[in-house]
């Protein structure tokens, strides 16, 4: 290995020896490619247009004339509600992907019960699934607590190995005379469309249980999510509350398997709480919102799948939830991406404006009030790019803080001067404060003050005045000689 410093891995990869190897490898692929691009089914692809439902169909589905539609929509809605609510607590406990391990680990249990009981008997199958699901979670927790294997690897191992065990068992189930209708697929991908009234009632039961538990034990859940030590000191049994939360997640997952499938139920537990988190900092509101988002996704997904033949309801529910998530992430007022970007732009505009004004104020301080300032002088005042300076000047002129143009030079307007002095004063106050109280060398305070001056509110300024015993005038610069020598 050569000891030469390299600037990028790309360049590092293409120093001589490696370049030869990479070229040889690419060449080998090119040689091999024709023999492997086996194009057996050369049928020309014609994209099948989706068959759009007629208006009558839409009305029929939306008003839920068919009992079947009603059952499916009611079932998925309640499932979304329950998953959203209990998912909130799993999300806050940072156990989002634990649900992934859990749902995959239900498969062997279902297969074992199937082999033992022999027929399709939903409640028992679900109990079997819940048993191995809990076992899977315990494995993850045990591995995490007792070995150097980290949680992510523990989850990955448990989910893949348990799921594979389930698949192996299901390949036995398929050979049983009753095995045909067992359908591994219905558990993996869900069969919402085939939901029976009994299935729906089971979902209603679990959703009721979740809502009831969360409502009754809300305070305990709350405190365990945020401060376990405090919870314990208040006499809350953290282990029991954790266990109850986990059992509710298990019930919701297991009941959702048959409706939306084991990958989609994980999504329903994660996505609505993650979306709700964007809108609020209050746990109560977040729980309610997550429930509502889950329910909305359930309704939308079920209805669209009723409208389009062959569309898997589980996937559509997750896509609906995904749409809610994307909207939340973009549009939420405080934590949303757009709001953040706006705040960021506003802030950098304010900073640019104040920097420009301070440059003016400092020049005026040297050359007298009302001085005409040339573009070059402004450029020399700080290390800003031409583009940034031009933009700041244009903005300031539009705000009537600055008058004049590039030929004749710029001048501060009266309100501009007032604002500029304010900024300069804040800057100087902070510099003096740093020198006097933080014991920082005068030559080093400019940079620190440059960053903080934009954020000094009236209270802080008043306090600085008191601490420094400064009255209204602008304090002299503590490092004139330094800056001038530097410039």
């Amino acid at each position: 290995m050569s000891a030469t410093r390299t600037n990028s891995p790309i360049r590092a990869a293409f120093d001589r020896k490696r370049a030869v190897w990479a070229a040889l490898f690419l060449y080998a692929i090119m040689l091999a490619y024709p023999s492997i691009s086996f194009s057996q089914n050369e049928t020309a692809t014609q994209l099948k247009p989706a068959t759009w439902p007629t208006r009558a169909q839409i009305v029929r589905v939306v008003t839920m004339r068919d009992q079947n539609t009603w059952i499916v929509v009611a079932g998925t809605t309640m499932l979304g509600l329950a998953a959203g609510i209990i998912g909130t607590f799993a999300y806050l406990r940072k156990r989002a992907l634990m649900g992934d391990a859990l749902s995959h680990a239900t498969l062997p249990g279902i297969a074992i019960v199937f082999l033992l009981v022999g027929a399709k008997n939903a409640p028992q199958l679900l109990l079997g699934g819940a048993a191995t699901g809990v076992l899977g979670i315990l494995c993850v927790l045990g591995i995490r607590a007792s070995t150097r294997t980290k949680e992510d690897a523990a989850i990955g191992i448990v989910l893949s190995v348990f799921f594979a065990a389930g698949m192996a068992l299901f390949s036995v189930v398929q050979t049983q005379p009753t095995g045909e209708q067992a359908g591994l697929h219905s558990y993996i991908y869900g069969q919402a469309a085939a939901m029976s009234k009994a299935d729906m009632q089971r979902i209603a039961f679990v959703a009721g249980l979740v809502v009831l538990c969360v409502a009754v034990l809300y305070k305990e859940f709350h405190v365990v999510c945020f401060d376990r030590a405090f919870a314990a000191s208040q006499g809350v049994s953290v282990t029991m509350v954790d266990l109850l939360m986990m059992m509710l997640v298990v019930f919701t997952t297991v009941i959702g398997l048959y409706a939306v499938g084991l990958i989609m139920i994980v999504a329903l537990l994660i996505i609505p709480p993650a979306a709700a988190r964007f809108w609020t900092d209050s746990l109560t509101l977040m729980t309610v919102l997550a429930g509502v988002f889950g329910a909305i996704s359930g309704v939308l997904g079920a209805m669209v799948s009723a409208l389009f033949k062959d569309m898997p309801a589980g996937a559509l529910i997750v896509i609906s939830a995904g749409a809610v998530f994307v909207v939340s992430m973009l549009a939420a007022p405080k934590r949303g991406v757009i709001a953040q970007a706006l705040r960021h732009t506003n802030l950098s505009r304010t900073v640019a404006r104040q920097n420009l004004l301070r440059a003016f104020a400092e020049i005026e301080e040297r050359e007298g009030e009302g001085a005409t300032v040339s573009y070059q002088a402004l450029r020399g005042e700080r290390g800003w790019s031409q583009h940034a300076l031009n933009k700041a000047i244009a903005k300031a002129r539009r705000a009537l803080l600055v008058t004049g143009d590039e030929q004749g030079g710029f001048r501060l307007s009266t309100p501009g001067r007032k604002a500029a002095r304010e900024v300069l004063r804040n800057h100087r106050l902070w510099e003096l404060f740093l020198i006097r109280y933080a014991d920082i060398a005068p030559s080093h305070v400019d940079r620190d003050a440059d960053e903080i001056e934009h954020f000094l509110g009236p209270e802080v300024v008043a306090e600085l005045e008191r601490a420094l015993e400064e009255r209204r005038r602008i304090p002299a610069s503590p490092h004139t000689t330094v800056t001038e020598a530097g410039a």
Binding site: R148, V172, I263
Partner: protein
Amino acid sequence: MSDWNWSLDGWIVLAGMLSAVSCALPGNYLVLRRQSLMGDAISHAVLPGLVIAFLLSASRAPLPMFIGAVIVGVLTAVFTQFITARGKVEEGAAMGVVFAILFAIGLVLIRQFAENVDLDPGCVLYGSLENIGLSVAGASELPDRVVNLILALALNVVFLSLFHKELKLSTFDAELATTLGISARLMHYLLMVVVAITTVANFEAVGSILVIAMLIAPAAAAHLLTDRLWLMIVLSAVIAIVSAAGGHVLAIVLPRWCGLGDRVALNSAATMAVVAGGCYALALLFSPSHGLVAKLAHRVAVAVQIVAEDILGLLYRWQERYPKGAQPMRRRDVLAAVGGRVLARGALWWLHRRGDIHLLSEQGEPAVDLAPAGRQRAAQILRSHRLWEAYLDRHFALPADHLHAGAERVEHFITPEMRSALANDVSDRTTDPHGKPIPKEVAE
């Protein structure tokens, strides 16, 4: 094993091994970077990429599939990164959001274009390893999927050896890597590209669930066995090979053991994953350095040693109190004084075997007495104990009745060097704060 058919089973085992090794190699870095679940996420999320590539190219040619998968795989990493950074969502949850949505989109696309897409959602999960020998290509005599697997393995080997230094640095010390001009982020995305390609190459043959298992389980098992990176990589490959071979054998043999007859064969990809999980469980239990059994054994050994030293100290003090012609201590009392549990009995047995104590019979009652070797050892322990008390007494304002408990715990961990340092510090003292004499150091 009578009906082992090399043209079928041989291909299955070979394909399984190739796929297992090609997954296990990049898996090492996923496990070390705590990004194992990126493998899970990507192997689910590439589905829409596959479907779209399939629709656009109208064939199952590998290249479009790889390109589609790589694009979506990288997108998964980018989206996850974006949601984590901008939305301040915890990384696990962000990953869950991204891969679930992409997987759902893939499923809808498959259903929508079912007539054009020859992709069975089930096949994506558990592949069709059983049929691998059936489609032998004309010219090369190798089944196409095996060729794909060989290419994927070659790609991974080349990638890992070309970027060995960069990967290692950015995995263990991202800051150092950055100061040396290696972009940790670029390495992250490159790794994701490799994972995506590996996933797709393995899809048809073994299915995504075995890919996830092989990405994580062999590497995690190897991580329990060694602290050296190169050894970890080698071990993970070996474990992957063993899992693949063992898994197929298990798939054939297990149903017979359970009396299900010849007709039933388990899904080999599934049993390979289960065997990989079994290998991890073995490493978890029996790894010499990090295994649970080794840890437990170590703890028991330390506990026994501490109890044994306590017994020696006890007997020494007994002799100190009754200097001349004292009766040996009754076994019953010794056991009672140190807790009287299994550990204490074990410690007594061990001391006796080492020749530190004599087991006597005193008026029909079993009793214990110090042997010369044990007396020397006990003197050292007592010396540590009393020196520590004297030291604490000199330097800390502790009441005299608070010294003993601390010294009782510390005495087992004071080395000869530390003892001589303590002795220097309190060289003017010949007794501990309670007035008991400090035994002399015994030359070895």
